[in-house]
């Protein structure tokens, strides 16, 4: 886990990192202790984070595969249906 998720580009963040960053943004805005100009920038960042999180949540497709192994190494997969 990255301790400083805010320093990462949003696109590279995990869902959890993006959520933490979003919480920080919202918290700062709710406290109202950021200058007006900065609060606009914060909002934009928050919106981007939210979109990133939403994309991660939307990307919820089930895919089940069976590993084909040779001598302890995975060499391929076989899709599994109807399980």
């Amino acid at each position: 886990m990255n301790d400083k998720p805010t320093e990462k580009p949003i696109g590279a963040m995990t869902f959890e990192e993006a959520m933490i960053a979003l919480e920080q943004v919202v918290g700062a805005l709710e406290r109202g202790d950021v200058p007006l100009e900065q609060s606009i920038a914060l909002y934009e960042r928050g919106a981007a984070l939210k979109a990133h999180c939403a994309a991660k949540l939307k990307d919820a497709e089930e895919k089940v595969e069976l590993i084909r192994a040779q001598e302890g190494r995975a060499v391929g997969t076989t899709p599994v249906e109807g399980m």
Binding site: F15, L29, Y43, K50, C53, E62
Partner: protein, 520 residues
């Protein structure tokens, strides 16, 4: 033992065996009699050479039987005999004619009762724990939302279905199933290989690397689950780079992999729940957060606008701000001329107040007071002087009074000393006179004596007795030769001298004219 008696002489019709024949006969008897036996005993020394066969001893308190499991049998064993283990071994007896030995070929070994198995399990757990494989510090945190989930389990069975079902409910994910045998001899090796295999998948390759691994198996007997107690599985789980959830058996079953895993799930279904969050909840939470975001920024702007309006309203007009100072300026301007005059008059009054008392009388009065003061001092000074003189005089008198008697004493003492001195002088004078008189008398006496002596010794007395002294030319002549030479001779008698006929010397000297004169 006459069977092996080698006396050459035949002793009846008993057949004669060779060693091999006899050994073979024994082998047949033993194998026939003990073709399938179960033996309970403690496992003694165990050794497994490179051949893969397993040699061990079975013993009780009195006897030992050598036991062997061939490589193929060992591979099929559920439980491998370990030293100290109480087991029931199943197999057949045979002999080893080369060493005159009999031994048990063991097909299978089962722990003698659950207690023995548990004791062994506990021993193994303690050993692995001592290595630090179960330390909390080794535990990895599970990812909040894994993208790929690797499941190590049997592909056929309820377990994988349960897991997939629960994942589907919560958050459909990409699942990779690594099929393994979940019981039997192959179980441990396959499970360990699967864990290592998932870890060997490189990120970005054709097969996605799992973000979390679930090792799952349904409930079963202790023996069924035994594979998950094997050291190889425990080590693989402890060494997994990918966070690992163990879900073996039911909630009450604990296998050693549970100690080594990063998180233990009571059931396979629970493992799925631990692996992923609920998507809908996350969506709801994200929506709520998004709403808070909008509200936060809107509220921030709104609050600022409100504050701005409030402040703007509270801001006073410029005229009203200036009117009061302006009025004060006017007032001050109007008063400033009069104020100067007033100030001067006031200073003047202050000056008068101070200067008023400054008059000559003040100085004179001051001088008079000083003079009086001086006079007073003068009087006090005189009095003081008189007092001091008085005191001095008293002191002088006092000392004078003491002085007179002292003087008198001193005079008296001096008188005494004078008298003493006089007395002493008189005494010493008398002694001096006496001494001087005596000395004079002694000296006079001595003088007279000496004079008498002188008279005796001198020629004058001699003269009286008829002797005379002849002198020539003034000198005493004692020889005839001397007398012939003399120009004049003089004979002295006791009553005076007589000059004798002066014989004129041949060569007379003028100097003796006086004498000659008288002769002529």
């Amino acid at each position: 033992m006459d069977l092996i008696d080698d006396t050459p002489a035949p002793q009846g019709n008993q057949p004669e065996y060779t060693v091999s024949e006899l050994s073979g006969a024994v082998k047949r008897v033993i194998e026939g009699e003990f073709g399938l036996v179960r033996v309970r005993g403690e496992v003694g020394r165990v050794s497994r050479p490179a051949s893969g066969h397993l040699y061990f001893d079975l013993k009780d308190d009195r006897s030992v039987i050598a036991a062997i499991s061939w490589k193929g049998q060992v591979a099929k064993m559920q439980v491998r005999p370990e030293e100290g283990m109480e087991v029931i071994a199943t197999g057949r007896m045979t002999t080893f004619p080369g060493q005159s030995k009999y031994q048990l070929i063991v097909d299978d070994v089962a722990p003698a009762g659950a207690g023995a198995l548990m004791a062994m399990l506990e021993k193994r757990r303690a050993a692995l724990a001592a290595e630090g494989l179960f330390d909390q510090a080794r535990k990895r945190r599970l990812p909040f939302l894994p993208g790929v989930i690797g499941v190590v389990t049997s592909p056929s069975g309820a377990v994988i279905r349960d897991i997939l079902h629960r994942l589907r409910d919560r958050f459909p994910r990409h699942v990779l199933i690594w099929p393994v045998a979940v019981q039997g001899q192959a179980c441990a090796a396959e499970v360990a290989a699967a864990i290592r295999g998932f870890n060997a998948i490189q990120p970005g390759g054709p097969i996605p690397r799992p973000d979390v691994i679930i090792v799952a198996r349904g409930g079963g007997s202790l023996e069924d689950l035994w594979g998950f107690n094997e050291e190889i599985v425990v080590r693989a789980a402890a060494g997994s780079e990918i966070p690992l959830i163990s879900a073996v058996g039911h909630e009450t079953d604990t296998t050693l992999i549970d100690y080594a895993s990063d998180l233990r799930a009571p059931t396979p279904t629970a493992a799925a729940e631990l692996a992923v969050p609920v998507r809908l909840e996350l969506l709801a939470g994200l929506d709520a957060t998004g709403a808070r975001l909008v509200r936060g920024v809107v509220q921030g702007v709104g609050l600022r606008g409100q504050r701005l309006r409030d402040l703007g309203r509270a801001l006073p007009r410029l005229d009203s701000l200036l009117s009061a100072p302006r009025q004060r300026l006017d007032g001050a301007g109007a008063r400033i001329g009069a104020a100067l005059g007033l100030a001067v008059a006031q200073k003047h009054r202050q000056f008068d107040r101070v200067a008023g008392p400054m008059r000559p009388e003040l100085l004179l009065g001051l001088a008079a007071r000083r003079r009086d003061g001086m006079r007073l001092w003068e009087q006090r000074l005189e009095a003081a002087l008189a007092r001091r003189l008085e005191r001095a005089r008293d002191r002088a008198d006092n000392q004078a009074g003491r002085l007179v008697p002292a003087l008198e004493r001193m005079i008296a003492a001096a008188d005494r000393r004078v008298q003493d001195g006089n007395r002493e002088l008189a005494a010493k004078g008398a002694r001096l006179d006496a001494a001087a008189g005596a000395r004079l008398k002694r000296l006079t006496d001595r003088l007279e004596a000496l004079d008498r002596t002188r008279g005796t010794l001198g020629y004058a007395e001699t003269l009286k007795r008829g002797y005379a002294v002849v002198r020539g030319d003034g000198h005493v002549v004692t020889t005839r030769a001397a007398a012939e030479k003399a120009a004049s001779l003089e004979v002295e008698f006791a009553d005076g001298r007589l000059a004798l006929g002066a014989r004129a010397p041949r060569k007379a000297k003028g100097e003796e004219g006086g004498g000659q004169g008288s002769l002529f």
